[in-house]
Amino acid sequence: MLNYIARRLLWAIPTLIFVSFISFVIIQLPPGDFVTAYAAQLRNSGDYITEAQEAAMRAEWGLNDPLIVQYWRWISNIVLHGDFGRSLEWNAAVSDLIWERVGLTLIISTLSMVFTWIIAIPVGVYSATRQYSVFDYVFTVFGFLGKGVPDFLLALILMWVTFVWLNMDVGGLVSPQFEGQPWTIAKFGNMLTHIWIPLVVLATGGAAGLIRVMRANMLDELRKPYVETAYAQGFGERTVVWRYPVRVALNPFISTVGWALPALFSGDVITAVVLNLPTTGPLLLQALKMQDMYLAGSFILILSVFTVIGTVLSDILLALSDPRIRFS
């Protein structure tokens, strides 16, 4: 088992190096470079720099060096100093811009995933063990509705309802008076009155799909002979269902836990824009629109790193839960 984990971790290293290189190439892909964009920015604001000044800046920043040298400088700055470069649009260090957003995104994503699982797994198990019962149909209808209604629409409706009937403004993650303030208990309490909307929106969309997956997995597993064996041992229905088929039916969930991480990171962009949430999604969208290369590149790098870490994580979890994986 330790052997397996060590091997998976070792394999992650070349993968990480490779994705970081690809991320850097993507940053370099748009025509022009940092200086071109900087000069254009200055020109827009009425300033002017000469060709010679531009060339000097290029030399100073090392932009004439070969790609591999530049990559090395970029990645070693990130790894050794945590320096992701500068955002042109915000005129600030990228690392100052993203970490708070990354933290908030992780909180919202993790919470919504936990809610998704808390809803989806019991409902899926119920729907499968009581197939074609009244509640199975109710959950099925709910599931298709939840899957069919776009997240942002649900977000809009919830915001409108709370505004009209409860007279609350729940956009953003905190009320305007707390924005930019240091974190206090009052601000945290205020956040709790806002955070439930993105959680509900993200959890319903996710749960609706997962209920269907869980139900289908369970229906497959419930027909397997080992379930009958468990009944033949004298266990009650609840013990049989939760100890045996659920254990096996959960494996596909566990193997996709890793993908949930990057998906939640970038997948909720529209909802986040609608709800005016200070998460990573809207910032990434903005960076891509403005060709803010270092900001966008940093996001792409972070997303890729999360994907790799998530995959390793779910591989390890799956091996822990399913002995058949460990030895193949």
Binding site: Y226, E228, A232, P323, R324
Partner: protein, 351 residues
């Protein structure tokens, strides 16, 4: 009719462990009602092996599952009684028990063990052999985890599992088919059941392994003085292991008797035909093997009268296709459900 109901409510003879009377199990389907089991009666005495033989779809597995009350959820228990004598000596009417009730749960795995056809899939793939056996032991007996583990190793030794102390921590996918069936048997025997239901336990195994498993079951049955209901479609296996045999066709027991009676003096034309369709050593070469004409009728259109009459060589028009035969009971206790049982010599002479 009321008379027969009354007699079926009387108590069983003291040596009797299990008795089925006129058991009927039906399945409602989109195309109509399937009478999968249609009035089956058989009994098992303590320490006795009853072989149940029949083609696929003859209802032998469904009947066995109704002893455990483990039929599919849509099954209808249409008729009959199933009586079982508990270890305490008290008689229990299984057909009146709730499927998931305490009484049934206490019976399963404790008094009645069951082994299944597919050793590959009948064990949980994500738990070790030891865990699965220990759970059963701890469910029915108030023992510590360490004692349950010791019991698991003891059981694995009993079923002649190689390296039991190592296998106890292994997962089913580490074991071969024969070893899995041994583990399955160890699981079924976890609490020393008085009755073991074996539903085609050797069908999925190769012939060598089959012989080993049969040998093991015979030895365990002898050691533990346990009764076995052994379901199979293989007459050779029955001859090897059973004391008595019940032959089933289309949801009915057509003939019961001791192994010798069934093999040497079969009274029902279906049993006779089945035995003639088995190749035998020393039989003259060049003779074609006899087969039973026709197909098993589809369960929605069971023939009227004797359900075997369309395929029966000895069927007599006007009787067999009209009237459902009753059991003919012979002095030895052998029973055959045929209008002409015991008269087949004349029938043969008439051909």
């Amino acid at each position: 009719m009321s008379d027969t109901t009354r007699t079926s409510q009387s108590s069983m003879p003291p040596e009797r462990l299990l008795q089925l009377d006129n058991v009927g199990v039906h399945f409602p389907t989109r195309d109509g009602l399937v009478k999968a089991v249609n009035g089956v009666s058989y009994h098992v005495n303590k320490g006795e092996v009853l072989g149940i033989v029949g083609e696929s779809g003859s209802g032998k597995s469904v009947t066995a599952r109704s002893i455990m009350r483990l039929q599919p959820k849509n099954a209808i228990n249409a008729s009959g009684t199933i009586r079982y004598r508990c270890k305490s000596g008290e008689e229990l009417l299984i057909n009146e028990q709730d499927r998931l009730g305490r009484t049934m749960r206490n019976l399963r795995g404790n008094e009645i063990g069951m082994i299944f056809q597919e050793p590959m899939t009948a064990l949980s793939p994500v738990h070790t052999i030891g865990t699965q056996i220990m759970r059963t032991v701890m469910l029915h007996r108030q023992v510590s985890k360490a004692d349950a583990r010791a019991r698991a190793i003891e059981l694995l030794t009993k079923v002649q599992m190689p390296r039991p102390t190592d296998i106890v921590d292994r997962f089913p996918h580490h074991l071969s088919g024969g070893m899995r069936q041994r583990a399955m048997i160890a699981l079924a025997l976890a609490c020393d059941p008085a009755l073991l239901i074996a539903d085609e336990p050797t069908t999925a195994l190769d012939v060598t392994t089959e012989a080993q498993i049969l040998e093991l079951l015979k030895r365990l049955q002898d050691e533990m003085n346990m009764a076995i209901v052994f379901i199979t479609h293989n007459f050779g296996v029955v001859a090897d292991i059973a004391d008595r045999v019940a032959v089933m066709y289309l949801g009915r027991v057509v003939e019961t008797g001791t192994v010798d009676e069934i093999f040497y003096e079969p009274k029902h034309p279906y049993t006779q035909a089945l035995l003639q369709s088995i190749p035998r050593l020393g039989q003259s070469h060049g003779r074609r093997l006899r087969t039973i004409a026709g197909m098993v009728p589809d369960p929605f259109n069971v023939p009227t009268g004797c359900s075997f009459h369309p395929r029966c060589m000895q069927a007599v028009g006007g009787i067999c296709d009209v009237k459902t035969p009753d059991d003919v009971v012979f002095a030895s206790g052998q029973r055959a459900r045929c209008h002409f049982a015991g008269q087949d010599r004349q029938a043969e002479a008439a051909q």
